[in-house]
C-alpha cells in the first residue's frame, strides 16, 4: 500500500443502517486517514508484515464492522468494553465477540461536552462523545456495553451512557485483600451469567478452556512482539508496535495472533541482519502510565519525531494487557473461574491501593526493554495515575533511571511545549 493510495474505506450505506451521522463521520474518516498517512506511512523502513495492520486501519470502519454484524446475524452477542479487566475469555466461551470501544480522539469530545462536565478524563469524554454523536460504528454495532468501576468518571458516566446503549457494570475491587478477591470472583460469575443470558447459551468447561487457549495465544503473540522489540537495536518503531497493540482490542483474536506471529518472524530476521529502526544509536524510551486508545499517537509521534524510539508501553494498551497468562485445561468451571480471577488480579492498575507491585513491574520492564529513560504519561484528570506518578518518580530516582512526567489530553495545543520537554529530556539522557 503506498502512502498516496491509502484511505480509510467508506461504507456510507452500512453506516446509515447503523443509525450513524454519516456526513460528520465521513469527515472524521478523512481526517483519520490523513493523520495515519502522516504519522505512520511516512515512516522509513517499516516491516513488510505491518501491511496487515495498515489494512486493519483502512477497514476499521468497514471490514471489521461487517464481521461484527455477520456474527450478530448468526446470534452471537457483540460486547463493547473499556477496560483490560473485563474477562474476554468469558465472552469468547459464549461464542461472543469482545471489542474495545473508541476513546482516543479529540473529534468526539465536543459531543461529550454538550452533556458531561468538561473537567473529566479525555478518554471517558471521547468514548462518551462517540456514542452521543453517533460517530462510532463499533458503538452502534454492539449489543451492549460492559463497563467497570476503575474510576469515578467512568462509573458515573455509565449511568448516562445506559440511556443511549444498554450498559452493565462490573464492580472491580480497589484493594486486593481476600474479601476483595471473593467479591471479584462473584462479579465474574455474574458477568458470565449475563453473557450466557444474552448469548442464549451455556458456557461449558470445554468452551471455556478453548477460549482461555485463544486468549493465551493472543497474549503470547503480543509478549513475543514486545520481547523482540526489546532487542538492541530495535527492529520496529514504537509507533508500529503501539498500533498493533491498539488493533488487539478490536480484531478477531485468532487471526490477530497469527498475524502478530508473522510480524514477529520478520522481526527475528531483521534482528539477525542487525537492522535498526530508526538507527543503531537511537535513544530508547519506555512509556509508563495510562492507556493510549486509538488514534492517540501523540506522545509516540513526538518522541520518535525527535529521533528516539519507544521500546515498551507499561500501560493497559501494552504490557498490562498481555503480561499475564492463565492456567489452561481446567477440570471444572469453579477452578477455571478461580484461575481466571487470579490472572486478572495480577493487573497492577493504579485504581488499586496499595499498588506496590507496579513499582517493581516498571523497573523490571525498564531493565528488560534496555531503555535509556522513562516517560510517565497521564491523561488530564486521571487522579489515580497522576498521584501514583509521585511513587513512580521516587522509584526512578532511587534506581537512577532518567525520568520525566507528561500530563496531557488529546488536543493539539500543548504539542509545542511537550516537544520541547521531550527533546530536552533526550538531550539530558544523551549528556
Amino acid at each position: 500500500m503506498t502512502t498516496e493510495s491509502f484511505e480509510i474505506k467508506a461504507y456510507p450505506e452500512m453506516w446509515k443502517d447503523l443509525g450513524m451521522d454519516v456526513e460528520r463521520f465521513d469527515k472524521m474518516r478523512l481526517m483519520l486517514g490523513e493523520i495515519f498517512r502522516k504519522t505512520y506511512l511516512s515512516q522509513k523502513n517499516r516491516p513488510l508484515k505491518m501491511a496487515y495492520f495498515d489494512a486493519m486501519v483502512a477497514e476499521i470502519h468497514g471490514g471489521r464492522i461487517k464481521e461484527l454484524l455477520a456474527a450478530k446475524a448468526e446470534g452471537h452477542p457483540v460486547i463493547g468494553t473499556f477496560c483490560v479487566y473485563i474477562p474476554e475469555e468469558v465472552v469468547l466461551a459464549a461464542g461472543g465477540v469482545c471489542v474495545g470501544l473508541c476513546g482516543g480522539s479529540q473529534g468526539s469530545i465536543p459531543d461529550a461536552e454538550k452533556i458531561l462536565p468538561r473537567n473529566i478524563c479525555p478518554m471517558v469524554k471521547s468514548a462518551f462523545g462517540f456514542k452521543a454523536g453517533k460517530i462510532c460504528p463499533y458503538f452502534q454495532a454492539v449489543d451492549f456495553v460492559y463497563g467497570e468501576t476503575t474510576c469515578d468518571a467512568k462509573k458515573k458516566c455509565w449511568e448516562i451512557l445506559d440511556t443511549m446503549v444498554p450498559t452493565y457494570v462490573m464492580e472491580i475491587p480497589q484493594m486486593k485483600k481476600q474479601s476483595d478477591r471473593t467479591m471479584w470472583l462473584h462479579e465474574v460469575k455474574e458477568f458470565k451469567a449475563k453473557v450466557e443470558e444474552i448469548a442464549g447459551t451455556t458456557i461449558t468447561v470445554d468452551t471455556m478452556n478453548a477460549a482461555v487457549k485463544v486468549m493465551n495465544g493472543k497474549r503470547r503473540a503480543l509478549q513475543r512482539l514486545n520481547s523482540l522489540r526489546h532487542a538492541n537495536p530495535t527492529p520496529i518503531s514504537g509507533k508500529d508496535v503501539l498500533l498493533v497493540e491498539q488493533i488487539a482490542f478490536y480484531d478477531e483474536p485468532i487471526r490477530f495472533a497469527a498475524k502478530v506471529n508473522e510480524l514477529c518472524d520478520e522481526l527475528e530476521q531483521r534482528i539477525a541482519r542487525g537492522e535498526a529502526v530508526p538507527s543503531k544509536d537511537a535513544t530508547r524510551i519506555m512509556v509508563a502510565g495510562v492507556p493510549m486508545a486509538l488514534p492517540n499517537w501523540k506522545l509516540h509521534n513526538l518522541v520518535e519525531g525527535a529521533g528516539a524510539v519507544i521500546v515498551n508501553e507499561e500501560s493497559c494498551i501494552g504490557t498490562r494487557y498481555y503480561k499475564d497468562l492463565m492456567a489452561e485445561d481446567g477440570a471444572d468451571m469453579e477452578s477455571i473461574l478461580t484461575e481466571l480471577t487470579k490472572r486478572y488480579m495480577n493487573i497492577d492498575c493504579s485504581c488499586f491501593t496499595p499498588n506496590d507491585e507496579r513499582m517493581a513491574q516498571v523497573v523490571k520492564e525498564f531493565r528488560e526493554s534496555k531503555a535509556d529513560g522513562i516517560i510517565h504519561y497521564s491523561l488530564q484528570f486521571c487522579h489515580t495515575y497522576n498521584i501514583e506518578e509521585i511513587r513512580i518518580r521516587e522509584t526512578c530516582a532511587k534506581e537512577g533511571i532518567p525520568y520525566m512526567f507528561i500530563e496531557s489530553d488529546y488536543s493539539p495545543e500543548d504539542v509545542g511545549q511537550i516537544q520541547t520537554r521531550v527533546e530536552a529530556f533526550l538531550e539530558q539522557i544523551r549528556g
Binding site: S408, Q417, E427
Partner: protein, 252 residues
C-alpha cells in the same frame, strides 16, 4: 564566527560568539515571517556556524537546515558560561516558564516547564499591564513602589484578569494591584523551584528577568540564596546556542 538564534514566542534574539566572548547581539520582534527576520538578522555574520533554539527552532531548521538544541539546554550553557556558580536557572519567557537544575559541569539534571497555559509567563504580565494601563517597561518599577499586600488568587490569565478588574472597581490603587500580579508570578516561580529543588545560587534568564519587581519578590522569598541576574538576560538562550555552535564547530 559562531551564531546562536533564539526564536522566542515574542522576540528573536541573535548572539555572535568568537574567541571566548560575545561579539554582537540583536533583539527584534518575531513578526509574521520569523524566518525572513532571521535571514536579515544573521546576514552580517557570514560565514558562520549556526545553532537555533527556542519555540521556533524547527522552523529555522526547515528553512536553513541549521542544527537545533532546546532552549533548556541553551539556557543551561549560557548561564553556566557567564555565571559558573549558578546551580539553578529560572527562565521566564513570553509564553513559558522553566526552572532548570544544573550539575557540576553545567549539564541539565532536571527541569520543570509550565504546560499549556500562559500563567506565570511574560504574556501574563503583558496582559495584566495592559489591563492596568501601564506600559510594560514601567510595570515592574510601578509595582515595586507599592508596599501594600493584596492578593490575586487566580493563576489563570483569564480569571486573574477578572480579579484585577474587580479590584479596580473596588477602588484598590493600581500600583497595589500591580504588586499583587507580580507576587502571584513570584509565588509560582517559588513553587516550581521547590518542585525541582535548588542550590545556593539561582540565576534568572529570559525577558521577564528585566522586571525588577519579579526579581525583588523572588529574592525576598528565598532566604540564604543568592539570586543573580545577568547583564542581558534576554539573550541567554541565543548566547548558549552560539557557544554550542562553537563547541560543535571545534569537534568538526
Amino acid at each position: 564566527m559562531f551564531v546562536g538564534i533564539d526564536l522566542g514566542s515574542r522576540a528573536i534574539k541573535v548572539a555572535a560568539w568568537e574567541g571566548d566572548t560575545v561579539v554582537d547581539y540583536q533583539i527584534k520582534e518575531s513578526g509574521f515571517e520569523p524566518h525572513r527576520q532571521v535571514e536579515a538578522m544573521i546576514a552580517r555574520y557570514h560565514p558562520c556556524t549556526v545553532i537555533a533554539t527556542g519555540y521556533g527552532r524547527h522552523l529555522v531548521k526547515e528553512y536553513f537546515d541549521y542544527a537545533v538544541i532546546t532552549e533548556i539546554k541553551a539556557h543551561a550553557i549560557g548561564i553556566h558560561t557567564l555565571l559558573p556558580k549558578a546551580t539553578t536557572i529560572v527562565d521566564i519567557g513570553g509564553q513559558d516558564s522553566k526552572v532548570i537544575s544544573l550539575g557540576d559541569k553545567g549539564q541539565v539534571v532536571n527541569f520543570q516547564m509550565n504546560d499549556k497555559c500562559a500563567a506565570g509567563t511574560g504574556r501574563f504580565l503583558e496582559i495584566m499591564a495592559a489591563s492596568l494601563a501601564y506600559p510594560l517597561s514601567e510595570f515592574g518599577s510601578a509595582a515595586l513602589e507599592s508596599t501594600q499586600e493584596v492578593q490575586i488568587n487566580s493563576m489563570c490569565t483569564v480569571f486573574a484578569e477578572s480579579e484585577v478588574i474587580s479590584m479596580k472597581n473596588r477602588g484598590v490603587p493600581r500600583q497595589h494591584i500591580a504588586r499583587a500580579v507580580h507576587a502571584s508570578v513570584a509565588d509560582r516561580i517559588i513553587s516550581m523551584l521547590n518542585r525541582v529543588g535548588f542550590g545556593d545560587t539561582v540565576a534568572f534568564s529570559g525577558g521577564v528577568a528585566n522586571n525588577p519587581c519579579i526579581v525583588d519578590l523572588v529574592r525576598r522569598r528565598l532566604n540564604n540564596v543568592q539570586v543573580i541576574v545577568p547583564e542581558n538576560p534576554s539573550i541567554i538562550g541565543a548566547l548558549g546556542a552560539s557557544i554550542e555552535a562553537a563547541r560543535q564547530g571545534e569537534k568538526i
